[in-house]
Amino acid sequence: MNHTCATAGSIARRGFATAALSLLLVKASAAGTSGAFKAGTFDPPRLAPDFSLQGSDGHELRIDRFRGKVVLLAFGYSSCTEVCPVTLATFAQARRQLGAAATDVQVVYVTVDPQRDVPERLKKFLGNFDSTFIGGTGTDSQLATVRKEYGVTARKIPYGDSYTYAHSSFTYLIDRKGQIRALMPYGHGTDDYVNDLTILLKE
């Protein structure tokens, strides 16, 4: 499993096809929680560093806006053809499986590609998966600061006349108190997210 988005291209049909195929491979139903996290857990948890970015919903995007909800925080870019579509499709599927409880789950997706990912583009991209997802963008400097505080890497790679990014592909799980509780590596399926979100939602 490769945990970077190093392949170039625009928002490719191939990416969505990959995502759809991956979802077909995931079990259709959540089999309940095992009581233990499937993600990597932090002890003690630390407060998620706050930031101020432009949200794809037209509002300022701050992580503490979602205090009281469980947040899935991921980093990527809308032109990613391999990792990001799979991750976002998994989030969307997990929210569907959670049913009514999903109202307390917020997906936040921070771009590593501010040149292309303006708020409108992020909104359209994320809307392909779930209209409740909120994207964040900002200046190079703002985004670099956010990445540093979350230990996220992103490396721009020239590709012909365009470019792509190699970036961290894990997802942070932030609890209702705003603490970073867990880190889910790329490759985990819907059931693992449902398992961990259910644990956090019950707290």
């Binding site: 996290f37 990597g40 630390r46 970036h167 961290s168 894990f170 880190l183």
Partner: protein, 153 residues
Amino acid sequence: MRARLLVLAAVAGSALAALAWSALAPVRSASRDQVFEIPNGTWARRMSGDKLEILPDHIRLTLGVRDILVLRNHDAVPQIFGPTLMMPGQSFRLPFEQAAVYTFSCTAHASGQMIISVAPYPSTPGAKIAWRAQELWWHTRLLTADLLYRYHL
């Protein structure tokens, strides 16, 4: 001459017994945790020019035996450790449930990557022998790295 034959037979018998044990005894581990720790003072030593490699760039885990990666930061400053940023005094525990090769971005390594290979449980005699040989090699490497760190070599 007879005494020499007896010694040879004893050595060969012992070797065969060891091989049989390696091939047949169930693989167990006291703990399923594979622990890596950043000792206090690591940042200071790096700043003074020491090239410390705390976390190998390739970690091997085995399902059902040692399949939980545990990282601990005992240093006084935050550290990028494997796939994540860890605060002073913080630990990170990552279980694996699928045999696969996982590649993480990791700025702590010159390659920019950290690979975690998770192997299936060694159930066949050949797999058990291979696993035990690999364990021996792995612990030798860890012991060497620990001695190098402790004695500033």
